[in-house]
């Protein structure tokens, strides 16, 4: 790394190091996933884009969200005109060589000055605010396997006034049952909804909660075996 060239090996190692950051969260709130999606599509104001990236520098999940958005955008099924362009560094390599070989010392000096002169304090100091850790919905114990005659799904409760929506599906993602606007954090799924599910098979279910302040929380997918 001391010869001044940006080699593919250096880039590979930097990428490896960058992706190996331990799990971390930034002190400010994460951007809406929709914003990150838009950002990757070029639909966000540049200043906001920079805000999201600054946040992502300390927030592993947001950082990976950028990667995920990019990967999903690249799939040929979604973007038929797949971008097959090579990474810029490979192009840069020849440019680097030319510049250094050409003795463009002014560029080096300018870069050095820029590093010193433009090194700014960190861009955004986020307020010391963190979303409460209790913002997730978990399945209550005892829902690992249930008799189809009394298929009572139970999950952790939100604050009073919370409304829940429940969805149940097969592992092949065929919807079996749904129930919106539940007022209590449990629901007895009618056995008729489970008619086609053979004994011993797992079903998937999840809950979305609308809190009194109108926020929405979504659970992960839970699995319950039908006895």
């Amino acid at each position: 790394m001391s010869d001044g060239r940006i080699t593919p090996e250096l880039v590979r190692r930097l990428r490896e190091a960058y992706a190996s950051a331990p799990a971390g969260t930034a002190s400010g709130p994460c951007g809406d996933p929709e914003e990150i999606w838009q950002a990757v599509q070029g639909g966000l104001q540049p200043a906001r884009m920079a805000d999201l990236l600054d946040h992502a520098l300390a927030c592993t999940a947001c950082d990976r969200a950028f990667v995920l958005a990019r990967e999903l955008s690249r799939d040929p099924a979604i973007a038929p005109a797949a971008d097959t362009e090579r990474p810029p560094v490979s192009i840069r390599r020849s440019l680097v060589t030319r510049r250094w070989a050409g003795g463009a010392l002014g560029v080096v000096a300018a870069a050095a000055v820029a590093v010193l002169a433009l090194r700014r304090p960190p861009p955004v100091e986020e307020p010391p605010f963190r979303e409460p850790p209790s913002d997730s919905i978990v399945a209550l114990p005892g829902t690992d396997h249930l008799p189809r005659e009394r298929f009572l799904l139970r999950w952790s409760a939100g604050p009073p006034g919370t409304r829940y929506s429940l969805w149940v599906a097969t592992p092949e993602l065929r919807e079996l049952y749904s129930k919106p606007r539940l007022e209590v954090p449990e629901h007895l799924v009618p056995s008729s909804a489970l008619e086609g599910v053979p004994p011993g098979q797992e079903i998937l279910w999840r809950v979305e909660a609308r809190l009194p302040d109108d926020r929405r929380l979504s659970s992960p997918a839970f699995r319950t075996r039908v006895e």
């Binding site: 930097l14 070029g42 999940a61 999903l72 099924a77 979604i78 008619e195």
Partner: protein, 187 residues
């Protein structure tokens, strides 16, 4: 929405209210591939659950009567993306909470402050610390580059032309390397 009864699978691209197995399989393929590349390493064991959660969310949307536009794969993928990001964040908050008991909260500022402490030979952290020192425009470009964006993709996201992006990446990588060298870190 009333209680629903079991529904037969109508086959690919037919009728609102369900996702055909063929389409679910296509989505599963797309999501698995993307999650495999994007999933943080500490969540590797959660990959399949991330995909399942996303697919289940799609089933909910189709079941709730969202119709015409939900037929587009890109729309479904966007729904899946939001779900996966939500789950990743939740998992990371839990895991990071344990780490923060020791390290305190992390932010760009915190990373700068750590920089004044004796340098530790932890390369990933040093890379992030040095990124925090770059100018904002270079940092944005280099982050996208290290995330795997091509110049064209980064140019679109940053709303710059490709030449400008390549220039920012080049100079940013140069600065990054200088910073790492100053720290005695060789990536």
């Amino acid at each position: 929405m009333a209680d629903s009864k079991p529904r037969p699978d109508p086959g690919p691209h037919r009728g609102p209210g369900t996702v055909s197995e063929a389409r679910a399989e296509e989505l599963r393929r797309i999501l698995r591939a993307a999650v495999a590349r994007a999933c943080p390493r500490d969540l590797d064991s959660e990959r399949e659950d991330l995909v399942q959660s996303a697919l289940l969310r799609i089933v909910e949307r189709t079941g709730s009567g969202e119709d015409i536009q939900i037929r587009s794969t890109s729309y479904l993928v966007k729904v899946a993306f939001s779900t996966i990001v939500d789950v990743m964040r939740r998992l990371h908050r839990r895991r990071a909470a344990g780490v923060e008991e020791i390290e305190g909260s992390r932010s760009v500022r915190a990373l700068e402050e750590v920089d004044s402490a004796p340098v530790r030979p932890e390369i990933p952290r040093a890379v992030r610390q040095c990124l925090a020192r770059l100018t904002r425009s270079r940092r944005s470009a280099v982050m996208l580059y290290l995330q795997g964006f091509t110049a064209r993709e980064a140019a679109r996201a940053l709303q710059l032309d490709q030449k400008a992006v390549k220039n920012l990446v080049f100079r940013g990588i140069h600065d990054l390397r200088s910073c790492l060298t100053d720290k005695g870190v060789t990536p």
